[in-house]
């Protein structure tokens, strides 16, 4: 069995060490290629397609995506094992949507646990609960789950898919995950009103055993990538929310009774 998980292959976009905003402690993030969603604000658009792409960064072509085994990934991840140990950190899978490569993601998480590392995923949970998530949960310490909007139509309009599966899975995951944190990318013009944030927070609070909610303020750090990919950025005019606005939304979210914070 062990030999099997380490030889599973998958496609990654990047491995990033010293991540400190995606799960506890100092972490190494593995970005998996491919996503079912097309969020218009996405800061990693080069990771949406499963296919290997070329991104032209300041005139220099850069290949995005490479096929690797779990063993190869883990060799990189364990380099920071000592930092994980001192900080309570570990490995986080992100993307893209890490669960869009279910077999690879499960094998990575199983390998990390096999090696004694703390695990986390950043995910929309837009996948089959029975076939995928139930196999993920035994290897997972932190489920950082995005819930972006409670309104089905608006969700579909900005993301490309409705929110039914997301919400349904959230209800199933909550009682069974070791730790589930709800994260809300806070996007001006999409979900940054007190009513919209409040609705998400109330939903999150209704989930059994969920205690935390993180509001992640919109930023534009991914905007250049659209140009590099020769794609149009469809939210060119929005500005990152002000601190005051975020504080106001935070206060609204806190009415749910959850522990809320700005940033991951």
């Amino acid at each position: 069995m062990q030999q099997d998980i380490y030889s599973v292959r998958g496609r990654i976009a990047d491995i990033q060490r010293f991540s400190i905003h995606d799960g506890p402690g100092i972490r190494t993030i593995v970005f998996l290629k491919g996503c079912h969603f097309r969020c218009r604000w996405c800061c990693n658009p080069e990771m949406q397609e499963y296919g290997i792409q070329t991104m032209t960064v300041n005139g220099v072509p850069k290949t995005i995506g490479r096929d690797v085994t779990v063993e190869e990934v883990m060799r990189e991840v364990v380099k920071d094992r000592d930092f994980f140990r001192r900080s309570g950190g570990g490995m986080t899978l992100s993307g893209g949507e890490c669960l869009s490569q279910p077999e690879f993601a499960i094998a990575l998480l199983a390998a990390a646990k096999d090696m004694g590392l703390n695990t986390a995923i950043e995910s929309t949970a837009f996948t089959s609960y029975e076939n995928v998530i139930t196999k993920v949960l035994p290897h997972l310490d932190n489920f950082l789950m995005d819930i972006k909007h409670m309104d089905r139509a608006k969700h579909e309009a900005f993301i490309g898919k409705p929110n039914d599966i997301v919400l349904e899975n959230a209800r199933k995951i909550a009682p069974n995950a070791k730790r589930l944190v709800i994260r809300v990318p806070t996007i001006p013009g999409f979900n940054d009103t007190p009513a919209e944030i409040g609705a998400i927070a109330r939903f999150a609070a209704s989930l059994p055993r969920v205690e935390e909610l993180h509001l992640l303020p919109y930023h534009r750090l991914g905007q250049d990538k659209y140009t590099w990919l020769d794609r149009e950025y469809t939210l060119p005019d929005i500005l990152p929310p002000t601190d005051e606005h975020m504080q106001m939304l935070l206060a609204e979210a806190q009415k749910s009774g959850l522990r809320c914070q700005i940033g991951g």
Partner: protein, 842 residues
């Protein structure tokens, strides 16, 4: 847990003290220079140590004194706030020649009045031929002077100035006062027999110690009198009471042992300040302040005599005073030590001599004081070990988060064994403090000569490529034509041979300077506070201390490492490039400053016309020589492209600082070639050499004198600082960079290593930010790194500060082993700090 964390607000007094201190630009005062000259003129022919002590006495008897508004701790080396005195016994010519530019120069300007210029001009007439600088020059071998001229290394620090770099027995003064030390010297004197072989030497030294103690006591009494006068004249009842207490304090200390915390603070301050009146040496370091001050704090607290609020205010006052001391350096050194820094290193935490955790209330209050005053001095350091309390790590991280560049972090787990390997006892090793930038020593027992030289490892690499030649002169030794070398071992062998030879020259230079200080500038006051000078009847400068070292610094590790890796990879492994091409590319700065063939005639004609219009006669031969020089820079378009392309290939290779063991191994080799060669040598005080790996800020000016290097660095660009990766080359984040840097042999570089890391403030936000930061430091130390320091400031902030310096007068950044006001740094050093990789945390 042996501590309570007192969280105390800053008082309004502290803000006003700081405002007063920084109101005017710093000023050079003539008094010390004039007084020492008067004294020297009247003591011609007496033993040098006697003359030194008489001069010290004469200065302290007559130098103008002042109590600044609202001060609780008094004693100022200059009347003007942040003013400085001069020290002609070490060197003076540079200052006289810079009289008219020192106020307007870019790095560390000082105002000097016409009156001061005139008085110093008069005093300087005495000093020609009498300085340590001139004597040392005479002692150096011709080949050493040539290597200095060619900028292989610089020993300029002690060449022009006093030594400093010491932590004295503050605890002894706090406990028995100068009266007690005087008594010890007297007893030693009484025990001498006139028939002793070294009677004369010991007698004069001990008498000089006694005179120096008397001078310190006299000086404090002058302050007592001044405080009484000011009290009598004061209309403010509160201030009158303070001044009366100040007067009482100055009557008791430093003559006697301190009986209260306030007295202890005052006593400490007199010692700290007077050391810097006796000599111009910098890095006079308070050391383990939280340890030796604690008994006085505890006693007052237990007796209910003091509140944490007032104790904190006294500490804050000392913190302000440490910024009142200043020093003028020559224009070139000012670039290397930019930021008016005196490197007064004060360290908290760590272990007791017995190996138990030493953290106490004052450890936290010292960190708090730095947060209150937000000034560059003292250079605050924290000792960490596996038993350090988590609270201390977090409090230190909070200070780091302020962006002031403090504290620097030190690892007991590396430094203690490292000091043991240099012959310290386990108790002394556990009791280490940090001197100046990053140099460990046992306080009160060591003459460490820590900043003995800056040695540019990149220049050694240049000499390997030039077979020992530089600018038409043989500066190194012939190590063979590099283009004929057939394997990496040939290159490393040549590098090691050049290194060994040039280190010998550096040692010659340092030992020459050491002798000059021994003969001309023994320091009886400082010696009275360092064991075992009184016992041996010998000044520190002549080997009186228990431990003696000389610590010269190498820098450029990362450039040499990346360069060696590039040569190995491109020339020997993949064979994509010939060594001849590699050499030619370096000779032509990777094609960057090449001249096209069509431009030659115009440039030659311009140079020749320039010579003619400057009134020179130009012969055919001269024209031919100019043409040859210009011609040597000519490259064909194809060559230019090829060399530029080589640089691209080099830049695409992996670099030190990314957790790649094969590259990091070259860094260990590059550093080891230096540090293992240095430690073979001995100094005239009976001690050994030990290498450091840190550049202060010399990597910028000395980089400007360095040609292109095999790591792809262009000529004149800054060299990598300390043991840090090359600026901007550590692209895998701080954990990877730290893992790489930890692979060096930090313990062998026992004079200290320096690792700079720059963080964006967002990386430290919130409690989890502090925790993660503390974990990062902890892990680097697990991996046997020795030192770490941080700049926490955004790139945008620094760029804005360059554009609008008027808005950022108080912006403090970590330069290298010390913090400085950003706006006082030269533009090129500012740029270098901005370029250092910023670790944001993703």
């Amino acid at each position: 847990m042996n501590y309570t964390i007192h969280t105390v607000e800053k008082t309004a007094r502290i803000d006003r003290l700081i405002e007063h201190l920084f109101k005017n630009p710093p000023e050079i005062e003539a008094d010390r220079g004039v007084l020492i000259t008067e004294s020297y003129r009247s003591t011609e022919g007496e033993p040098i140590v006697t003359r030194r002590s008489k001069a010290f006495y004469h200065i302290l008897e007559n130098i103008p004194i002042t109590i600044r508004p609202e001060e609780l701790i008094v004693g100022s080396a200059s009347v003007a706030p942040r003013g400085c005195q001069v020290f002609p016994e070490y060197s003076f010519e540079w200052l006289e020649s810079e009289f008219d530019t020192v106020a307007t120069r870019k790095a560390d300007p000082f105002y000097i009045s016409e009156d001061a210029k005139a008085r110093l001009h008069e005093a300087y007439k005495y000093w020609k031929g009498k300085t340590t600088n001139e004597l040392a020059t005479g002692y150096m071998a011709p080949e050493t002077l040539r290597a200095i001229r060619h900028n292989i290394f610089t020993t300029g620090n002690y060449f022009y100035n006093g030594i400093g770099h010491v932590c004295v027995q503050y605890d002894k003064v706090l406990s028995i006062g100068f009266a007690g030390i005087r008594r010890e010297a007297q007893q030693a004197l009484d025990k001498l027999s006139v028939a002793d072989s070294d009677f004369v030497k010991r007698q004069h030294f001990l008498q000089a110690v006694i005179r120096s103690c008397d001078a310190a006591i006299l000086y404090a009494r002058r302050y007592a009198k001044l405080a009484e006068e000011q009290a009598a004249a004061s209309t403010d009842a509160q201030r009158r009471k303070e001044l009366m207490q100040i007067a009482e304090n100055c009557r008791r200390v430093p003559e006697n042992g301190a009986t209260t915390f306030w007295e202890a603070c005052q006593s400490f301050w007199f010692v700290q300040m007077l050391l810097q009146v006796e000599s111009s040496g910098h890095s006079i370091s308070p050391g383990r302040f939280d340890q030796y001050m604690y008994p006085y704090f505890r006693k007052d607290m237990d007796a209910g005599r003091i509140t944490p609020e007032f104790a904190q205010e006294l500490l804050d006052c000392i913190w302000v005073k440490l910024n009142d001391l200043n020093k003028v350096r020559d224009a070139a050194s000012a670039e290397g030590f930019a930021g008016y820094s005196l490197f007064q290193n004060l360290i908290v935490g760590g272990q007791t001599k017995e190996g138990l955790d030493a953290t106490n209330d004052l450890s936290f209050m010292c960190l708090q004081a730095a947060m209150h005053v937000m000034l560059p001095a003292p250079s605050l350091s924290v000792r960490l070990w596996n038993g350090s309390p988590h609270d201390l790590r977090i409090k230190a991280a909070e200070l780091t988060r302020t962006g002031i560049g403090l504290p620097a972090y030190y690892n007991d787990e590396v430094i203690i064994p490292s000091l043991l390997s240099r012959g310290l006892t386990i108790e002394d090793a556990r009791n280490y403090c940090i001197i100046g930038c990053v140099e460990p020593q046992c306080p009160g027992k060591t003459d460490g000569w820590h900043d003995a030289a800056f040695f540019n490892m990149c220049r050694v690499m240049e000499l390997v490529f030039q077979n020992g030649m530089d600018d038409g002169e043989m500066v190194g030794i012939p190590t063979g034509d590099v283009t004929k070398m057939t394997c990496m071992d040939d290159v490393l062998d040549a590098y090691r041979k050049q290194m060994d030879y040039l280190i010998e020259l550096m040692v010659n230079s340092d030992n020459a300077i050491d002798m000059a200080h021994n003969e001309l500038c023994p320091l009886p006051f400082q010696s009275s506070l360092v064991e075992d000078c009184i016992g041996r009847g010998t000044p520190m400068q002549c080997g009186g201390a228990v431990y003696n070292f000389t610590g010269p610094q190498g820098f450029g590790v990362a450039n040499v490492a990346d360069g060696l890796y590039a040569i190995n990879e491109l020339v020997f492994n993949s064979r994509k490039v010939t060594m001849a091409d590699f050499k030619a590319a370096l000779d032509h700065n990777f094609g960057e400053d090449a001249i096209g063939e069509t431009e030659v005639a115009a440039i030659v004609s311009e140079v020749v016309h320039g010579l003619i219009s400057a009134g020179k006669t130009v012969t055919e031969q001269d024209i031919a020589r100019v043409a040859a020089i210009v011609g040597s820079k000519v490259l064909t378009a194809e060559q230019r492209e090829r060399y530029k392309n080589l640089r691209k290939m080099i830049n695409a290779l992996p670099k030190f600082g990314n957790d790649i063991p094969e590259v990091d191994a070259f860094a260990r080799k590059a550093a080891g070639c230096y540090s293992y060669s240095v430690e073979k040598h001995k100094n005239p005080r009976g001690g050994i050499y030990q290498a450091g790996l840190y550049p202060v800020s010399a990597n910028v000016p000395l980089g400007a004198q360095t040609g292109a290097t095999p790591d792809g660095r262009l000529a004149h660009e800054p060299v990598a600082d300390g043991v840090s990766p090359c600026a901007g080359m550590d692209t895998n984040g701080p954990t990877a960079a730290a893992s790489s840097v930890a692979r060096l042999d930090h313990a062998n570089a026992s004079n200290g290593t320096l690792y700079n890391m720059k963080f964006h403030p967002s990386a430290l936000s919130g409690r989890s930010g502090l925790e993660n930061f503390a974990a990062l430091v902890h892990t680097y130390f697990d991996k046997k790194g020795s030192h770490m320091q941080f700049n926490v400031v955004s790139r945008e902030t620094l760029l804005d500060a360059q554009a609008h310096p008027e808005n950022y007068k108080s912006l403090v950044v970590r330069v290298a082993g010390y913090s400085a006001l950003f706006t006082t740094l030269s533009r090129s050093l500012q740029d270098d700090i901005i370029r250092r990789t910023e670790q944001a945390g993703f």
